[in-house]
Every structure is written in C-alpha cells, then in structure tokens.
Symmetry: C2
DNA sequence: AATAGAAATTAGCCATTGCTAAAGTTACGT
DNA sequence: ACGTAACTTTAGCAATGGCTAATTTCTATT
C-alpha cells in the first residue's frame, strides 16, 4: 500500500531496496575498517617511532597481541603490509597508499569538527568512529567548510 | 629504540591508553548498532504501516529472514521488543524509548548534513553509517548549526 | 656467551552476524 | 473448508574479530 503523500508529518519510508543499500554500505564499511585502522596506525607509528611493532599496535588498538598477530597475517595476505616473523612491520606501496588516504580523511573530519566548535579531544574520538562511513561527496564539503 | 624529540613537524601520537579508548568506543558502538538499527526500523514500520513484520525488516535491512528471526530473539531477551511466534513485532517501553532517541539523532544528523550542503540522498546514506558514532556533544552542535 | 625477560606466534576457544535449506505455521482464495 | 502460497522459524554452517594459555623467538644484561 504505497501512499504518495500524507498530510500528517509522518516520514514516508524509503524504498526497501534503497534502504537495504544503505545498510549494505555500512556492513561493507565494517569489513574494511579494521584494515584501515591497522594501516593508518602502522603508518603513524613508523612516522613517529621509525618502527611499528605488534605490541604497540595492540596497546594502541586496545586488543590482545594474538588478535594483532592474526590480523597482520590477513593484511599481509591482502598485500597491505610486509613483515618477517618476529620482526617489525612495513607497509607495501598498496598499504602506504591506503594509509595516506585514511590519514587525510581522518584529518579532514577532525579539523572540520573542530572548526564546527567540537572540543578537540571529542573531535578526535568521534572522527575515529565516523571516518569509515563518510562519502567522498560529504568529505569534499567538509574539507571546503570554513567557519 | 624510543626517540625523545624530533625537529620534523611530525604529529606526536596520542597516549596509547587514550587511543585505545577511542577504538574501544568504536567497538562498543558496533555492539549496539544492530540493536539500534532494528529498533529504529521497527518503530518506522509501525508508524507508517501499522505493523512490523520480519519479512519487511529483512527486505529493508538487506539480510535474509533467518538473520532477522535470530536477532529478534536477542532483542526480545534484552527487553526491546515483544512478539509471539509467527506474529508481528511490538516495541516495549524500553524499545520505544531507544527508538525515539535513535530517530531523533538520525534526523539531527541528516538535517545537519543537508544544511551543510550535502545531497539529501547521500546525507541519508551517510547518516545511517555515522549515527552510531557521534557523541552527544557533537550532536548538540549539529542540532544548533545554522547555515 | 648464557640466560632471563620481553615480544610474537600458535592453538584453541567464544560471540556476533551473516547465509542456505528445510520444516513449521498462517492466511487467503476458490 | 481446504489447499496452496507466503511467511516464520529451526538447524546447521561460515567469516570476522575478540580472548587466554602455552610456546617460540629475539634481545639485552651481566
């Protein structure tokens, strides 16, 4: 029973398939965000500490080291990192490229929120959550936003 | 080999425990967002169609009906919904309260993005992803944002 | 150079949230 | 009222990303 228009302020629901596509996009983002978080963090650690080790990743991600070990295997299989067992971690070209993209996106969002008036610490925390769910279109608008 | 200071304009990393707390918050959001998505959608369906059925939820979430069945058991155990087997779904007081909160938050974000200049369809899609990751503080600022 | 401690990996577990196939239940049309 | 179609549930499986305990490897100190 599709209703064209209503006088009541009821929000007419979107088309089911359209709505499903939104949720599918969120689920897709969930599959990629672990990769992005790891790669971004590895890049930061290499920048600042010259080296990224599994224990640093574990401490900063708030997970146990075996969780990191397992994930690093996956990242290596997918070609984002290279590492020898028991040695520190390096980004491949592919990993570097992804890290760069993620860091830029992260920074755009954080700075946008701060310009909007959000407390910098909260902006940082919020950015961590939302960065994987922002479209390029919205990101472009955030980048250009002034005052 | 920890290095004390550098002259390069490297962004100094946050404290590991602080950073870990950001990621922990994101993981916590992931645990709650399924609940929120279901409850919000059930509320919308009841508003517009007078009734929320599992097959509608499945179509609109883009998942198979057994996935919905299983989740509804959890939501019932957690006191968000009530339903008899093979019948439609009702929200409890607790579920209604959560749905109200989520719908308001969703709307604030969507309308904020639109005021910012984001295309309404993209705003809707982005809002679906980020609504579970926005702090109350940022939400307050978005609500107050004009032009 | 030996060894103790730190770090990384392996093994094996659990919870969540997807799925398909099959079985059960409801409801509708003739 | 009965049979079929639509809907829901059950059963069982897979992938992801957590964990602890135990083992292996590296490293640094003496």
């Amino acid at each position: 029973m599709p209703i064209k228009k209503q006088n009541k302020p009821e929000p007419t629901l979107a088309d089911p398939a359209t709505q499903a596509s939104w949720f599918a996009r969120v689920r897709e983002a969930h599959r990629t965000e672990t990769t992005e978080d790891y790669v971004e963090l590895i890049a930061d650690l290499i920048d600042v500490q010259k080296e990224a080790r599994a224990s640093d990743l574990a401490a900063r991600l708030g997970v146990a080291t075996p969780t990191v070990s397992k994930m690093l295997i996956r990242l290596q299989e997918e070609g984002f990192i290279e590492s020898q067992p028991y040695r520190s971690i390096f980004l491949t070209e592919k990993g570097l490229k992804l890290a760069k993209k993620c860091k830029e996106r992260h920074q755009i969002i954080r700075e946008f929120l701060v310009r909007l008036g959000v407390d910098p610490e909260i902006a940082e925390s919020d950015a961590e959550g939302i960065e994987h769910h922002i479209s390029q279109h919205t990101l472009d608008i955030m980048r250009a936003f002034k005052n």
